[in-house]
């Protein structure tokens, strides 16, 4: 009988090529490998930064030198040799001051392959985009339209020059330089990233989006994103990532800081599809990311992530609920396959009164991968009437993978209400047969069931992204389903 089993699917998955694994031959300027104070200074100088910025970096670098790489996560990998990485690589033809029409045609070609059509986006008129290749922002669209509303959306290097007061005021306030090993490294060597400021009371009329791409070999990507939503404003921010297939591991250590002032709301969505390594576990991106948001009174930050890529993921988008009545949300789908390892989750730090947080995490493990949820819900003594609801569900496909749940719950206030639920299951044979009986082939049935499993989170993504994310889920788990 022509039976398509989960085993078949597994084999297909293992042989599935990473669709974004091409390398574009861009002329690049790349720094020699290694890291010391001179390199940090050189990066700062290269970018024409003011002295305070250089000092800030040096301070971070000195802190980093004192720190050791964390080992508590449930991931095993060969630690990167930080002296074997080049900390700056830029496509030569990129010039952030030019418009899209001036962008290197090869770059545009690359984006076409990635499925990002900048022209298309232009026409659709609903997503403004910043694009970061290796370490440098190469194009920011819609600057003018946004400018009319007073919204600042540009690369962070430009912002350091054009809006130094804003950058200086907020940079490092949510993720301090010495927050952790990778954050310190990032603070020292970050070369670009996006900056966004939404003025008081402004609802950003379109989705803001950044696409990150590691192109050059032997480089690390260290981007820094800073989003500030001033009082009563709203912004929805999207982030996508890809990298070419390479045998060696590439390092990505980003920092994202969100600041939601009183009554502001930030929605931050990520579709992370860095190269996961090949089916034998060779190569792939090490994704060590620090993301954190600060909520002032009545503010709301919502993180949504679809994590399908990277060889190793270490990432905990968090919310510091400082203001009373502030709200933090974390919605996550993490898919691991082959030899991928993900240790991801969130921290909800309840400091203010009547603060609320919701955590929905869906982990899907296949192949020989390990998928861990790690989350902290902390209720401080001052946080009267704090509420948390967490739901962590894991789906296992095959018997060579692992699903792990490590929730930490720390409550120091008696009025807190915390609920945590977790389940682990597999796709039921009866479910697949039921679908088959209605004419749906097994491959499609599994896609359908996985989508259903992830639906609570998929629903949280902005429309433009939801379709893409759904596609990505299907690709990373099973092939071309439309």
């Amino acid at each position: 009988m022509s039976k398509y089993t989960e085993d078949d699917l597994k084999i297909e998955l293992e042989n599935k090529e990473y669709e974004y694994g091409f390398y574009t031959n861009l002329e690049s300027e790349t720094f020699p490998v290694g890291l010391n104070e001179d390199i940090v200074r050189a990066i700062s100088q290269k970018k024409g930064e003011p002295q305070w910025m250089t000092d800030w970096r040096i301070e971070a670098f000195r802190a980093w030198e004192e720190m050791i790489e964390p080992e508590w996560a449930n991931v095993r990998y060969e630690k990167p040799d930080f002296q074997a990485i080049s900390y700056y690589s830029a496509p030569k033809k990129a010039d952030p001051n030019k418009t899209l029409d001036d962008v290197d045609p090869e770059l545009l070609e690359m984006y076409k392959k990635l499925g990002i059509s900048i022209d298309e986006q232009k026409k659709l008129n609903n997503v403004a985009m910043d694009i970061v290749v290796d370490s440098v922002s190469v194009a920011t669209t819609f600057k003018k339209t946004l400018g009319e509303k007073g919204i600042i959306f540009m690369s962070i290097s430009e912002a350091i020059k054009e809006h130094p007061d804003l950058v200086r005021k907020y940079l490092g306030t949510v993720v301090p330089q010495r927050d952790n090993f990778y954050a310190a490294l990032n603070s020292a060597v970050f070369s670009d990233g996006s900056f966004c400021y939404i003025p008081k009371g402004v609802k950003c009329p379109m989705e803001l989006s950044t696409y990150f791409r590691i192109n050059q070999a032997g480089t690390g990507q260290f981007e820094r994103t800073l989003v500030i939503a001033d009082e009563g404003s709203y912004v929805s921010y999207l982030e996508g990532c890809t990298a070419p297939s390479r045998d060696e591991n590439q390092l990505h250590a980003a920092v994202v800081e969100l600041i939601a002032l009183d009554d502001a709301e930030i929605k931050y969505s990520t579709v992370q599809n860095w190269f996961p390594g090949n089916k034998d576990g060779k190569g792939g991106v090490f994704n060590f990311v620090t993301k954190r948001g600060l909520c002032e009174t009545n503010a709301k930050i919502s993180w949504t992530q679809v994590e399908t890529g990277s060889a190793v993921t270490w990432k905990y988008p968090s919310c510091v609920l400082k203001g009373d009545n502030s709200v933090g949300e974390f919605y996550s789908i993490a898919v691991t396959n082959n030899f991928q390892q993900a240790d991801t989750g969130t921290k909800m730090i309840h400091l203010g009164k009547n603060t609320k947080s919701t955590i929905i995490s869906k982990g899907i493990s296949a192949g020989k991968s390990q998928n861990s949820y790690r989350g902290l819900v902390q209720i401080s003594p001052r946080a009267e009437n704090a509420r948390n609801f967490s739901q962590c569900d894991s789906l296992l496909m095959g018997n060579n993978c692992g699903a792990h749940t490590f929730p930490y719950i720390e409550s120091k206030n008696p009025s807190a209400k915390i609920e945590h639920e977790a389940t682990t299951s597999k796709i039921g044979e009866d479910q697949v047969f039921y679908c088959n009986q209605r004419g749906i082939p097994t491959e499609k049935a599994i896609a359908l069931i996985v989508n259903g499993f992830s639906k609570d989170v998929l629903n949280k993504l902005p429309m433009e992204f939801a379709v893409e994310a759904q596609k990505l889920l299907e690709i990373s788990l099973e092939g071309s389903v439309g």
Binding site: S394, G402, E410, K417, E421, T423, T424
Partner: protein, 438 residues
């Protein structure tokens, strides 16, 4: 002298006192070496993140009591389940009290660890079971192993139902200013056999006590073991209770832990599976106040197919008390068709009380049903108001609600007199006089 140093230097003296030439010498020596390297655990270790021993270790504990102390049964009757007949293995300041005990060799062995460790007729059993499931890596367990000498030895042979429950009782008299004791229990339950055991540590004075206890339980094929731990000690008593359970196929072991007393209590409860279709049950009720601290650290290691485990822990925390629940369910690749459930429900009653929970699942098999749930909350105000409206005073209404909250665990107590005793302790703890005949 720091306690660690004191223990290390006492080890030689201890070895001199017991038989140096016995084969246990090697076991003890390698255990003390492990403790010497590891030392007492600190908050830096993930497993001890929420529990600090620092304050306790500052006491100048006597490691060996200087003199024998005697107690009359009437003084301590209330600590026994005296309404029913039981076998009793009783220790005073770590030393066996034949006067208070009621042991047996009639068909089953309920006696002393010290004789089992030294008498030739037990040698084979000791060789096969002693220190076989207890960790050789955990610092406190190895510390106990190094000084293992006294405790309860229970061996129920094949197809025997112990005719009455067994009570294991550890009293400390306070005749030493501060006392550290390290009881070591070994329980072997043969094929098709059944036993019920009640264990209690009780301090009779206000002098500080530190008990570092290790119990190894071996349940053979289809054996049934019900083990009850009553922790309702004095507020100066500290207990580190390490229990290791080894289960063979189709056995059923349940450990019920009732934590009401003590200053600091840490329960390390570990279940290891060596056969299919077996069941492990871990239940707990914690009701504490003042500055009490109770930490439940559980592990169920599912290594075989078709096994089940159930964990249900209820906690009520008032005053400045702190509670910790750290439960881990580990499902190995071979353990298909595992059903593992874990639940931790907590009620926090005061501003200064706090609760830390870390319910973990680590799963490597795909065809499993595993879930965990953890809640932290308060008593239902609406229910409270409803009861008050019907004339039940607030205090009693609260107590009733809390009792109802713990009831699922109380219901699992299979010895009626014990159930009644626990219910009474709960009522006392909640400061009410209620029959609780719900």
């Amino acid at each position: 002298m720091e306690l660690k140093e004191k223990l290390l230097s006492s080890f030689m003296a201890f070895e001199e006192r017991v038989d140096v030439h016995s084969e246990l010498h090697d076991v003890r020596t390698s255990a003390i070496k492990n403790f010497e390297i590891k030392g007492f655990p600190t908050k830096k270790e993930e497993a001890w993140k929420y529990t600090s021993l620092n304050a306790i270790l500052k006491n100048d504990f006597t490691v060996f009591p200087k003199k024998d102390s005697a107690i009359e049964f009437n003084q301590v009757k209330k600590y026994f389940i005296h309404e029913i007949d039981t076998y009793k293995v009783v220790f005073i300041d770590g030393i066996f009290s034949s006067h208070l005990s009621s042991t047996t060799h009639d068909g089953i062995d309920v006696c002393l660890m010290s004789s089992a460790l030294t008498k030739p007729k037990y040698k084979m059993v000791i060789d096969n079971y002693f220190n076989k499931i207890a960790s050789k890596d955990d610092s406190l367990t190895t510390l106990n192993t190094a000084f293992s000498l006294e405790g309860a030895y229970i061996n129920i042979p094949k197809s025997k139902v112990a005719d009455k429950p067994i009570e294991i009782m550890y009293f400390s008299t306070g005749n030493e200013a501060a006392l550290m004791v390290q009881p070591r229990n070994l329980v072997i339950v043969g094929e098709n056999s059944h036993v019920q055991i009640i264990e209690r540590h009780q301090s009779l004075s206000e002098n500080p006590v530190l008990t570092n206890s290790v119990t190894e339980i071996f349940a053979q094929k289809r054996a049934i073991v019900d083990y009850y731990k009553i922790q309702n000690d004095d507020l100066e008593a500290n207990l580190i209770d390490n229990t290791y359970v080894s289960q063979q196929k189709e056995s059923h072991v349940s450990v019920h832990t009732f934590s009401f007393g003590g200053n600091l209590t840490r329960n390390n409860l570990n279940f290891y599976h060596f056969g299919e279709r077996l069941t492990s049950t871990l239940n707990g009720i914690t009701i504490i106040g003042e500055k009490q601290h109770v930490d439940h650290y559980t592990l169920v290691n599912h290594a075989q197919p078709n096994c089940e485990s159930f964990q249900d822990y209820k906690g009520i925390f008032s005053d400045r008390s702190t509670g910790v629940f750290n439960g881990k369910v580990y499902v190995e690749k071979e353990a298909q068709k595992t059903n593992a459930f874990q639940k931790s429900n907590n009620i926090v009653l005061s501003d200064k009380a706090s609760i830390n929970a870390k319910p973990q699942l680590e799963i490597f098999a795909d065809d499993v049903k595993c879930s965990h749930g953890c809640t932290v909350g308060q008593l239902d105000e609406t229910a409270l108001f409803y009861m008050q409206q019907r004339g039940i005073p607030k205090k009693e209404a609260k107590a009733l609600l809390m009792y109802a909250f713990s009831n699922a665990v109380i219901e699992n107590i299979k010895i009626p007199e014990l159930k009644k005793r626990i219910t009474t302790i709960i009522a006392n703890k909640l400061g009410v006089k209620l029959g609780f005949d719900l």
